[in-house]
Symmetry: C2
Subunit: 196 residues, 2 copies
């Protein structure tokens, strides 16, 4: 019986991503998203009761897209070493394919006012992170890493270093060079080398 929505949430989030990528999280104002999509001010507050919810949804959708592919690649190869190298490459490749979403990720949740999110959203964000962390730890174990410092090394190789590579280039010229995937894979291979 209700009237169907006219301004789709996903359209609003698309605009929000674009604004965040182009001018930073602070540029994601209710007014800016409304203007960009032609939505009236009041309608924005039907989809998102507060700005913090808009930012939270924006973050969760983006990081969800990323993690989905990340976990898929991790699980795609039963051989742990190959899976690790593939996932390091994947982070770079995904960022190349989705530069705007990657720019959002590089800002991190705090830049999207994580402190103001309703608890539900913070919980969902944590759950996603733990899922990835657990998958990486599992891989580290298969690779023979036992100490917590080893798990950290693997996380550095499979998450932080590929993202550092992406950051270096997206913050600069804005294009990832063709060999970035190779570099990420090589760093990962070095760090995963056993017997160290």
């Amino acid at each position: 019986m209700p009237r169907p929505p006219r301004y789709d949430q996903s359209v609003l989030l698309d605009a929000a991503v674009e604004l965040a990528a182009a001018a930073g999280p602070a540029a994601v104002t209710m007014a800016a998203v409304a203007k960009q999509t032609g939505t009236p001010n009041g309608s924005m507050y039907h989809r998102f009761p507060q700005r913090a919810v808009l930012l939270a949804e924006l973050w969760l959708r983006t990081v969800g897209h990323f993690q989905e592919g990340y976990l898929a690649v991790l699980d795609s190869d039963p051989e742990p070493r190959r899976a690790a190298l593939a996932v390091a490459r994947h982070v770079v490749a995904w960022s190349r394919a989705h530069p705007r979403e990657a720019a959002v990720l590089l800002h991190g949740p705090d830049a999207f006012d994580r402190a103001d999110w309703p608890e539900e959203y913070a919980v969902r964000a944590d759950r996603g992170n733990r899922r990835v962390l657990a998958a990486v730890s599992g891989l580290a174990e298969q690779l023979g890493a036992t100490a917590p410092a080893d798990a950290e090394r693997v996380a550095l190789a499979l998450i932080d270093i590929p993202l550092a590579l992406v950051r270096r280039h997206l913050r600069g010229v804005g294009r990832l060079p063709a060999h970035a995937e190779d570099l990420a894979e090589r760093c990962a291979a070095d760090l995963l080398a056993t017997g160290r």
Copy 2:
């Protein structure tokens, strides 16, 4: 003949750093810095004609401190390989010793509204960056790196990866584990290994 200043610029910048580290660059408002230091609103605008100048000075002072130490360590050892490893360690050690300033650095200049800075400040920031980049490139050359991709690898090892390590921990619990320096050095050593 002039009346001596009562509110020192460095004191205001100290407060600004603290605010930025604790609650992000957006928390560095003229009002917040004034309140924290007991300065009246109007006096702020004697030191910093606009907020953008406050943010620019904050950034330049912080990054200057960092780069000063960085270059000193780079030059402290004539043997390029040892200098490289020392500098990778240094990034982590400096961040441990100056957690608030490190937090500022991790936000990057754009978060401090670099686009709004008067040109003079942007030029100074560029000059500093180029100086470090040149030093790193010089080291890369001494290490036998020739292709631009090699220089990038060295920059990744001596700047981005140590910073990624710092970011991982400062964004989390807020304390750097004791072995972080070792990890940074090891990553650097792996990446600098010749004949690859």
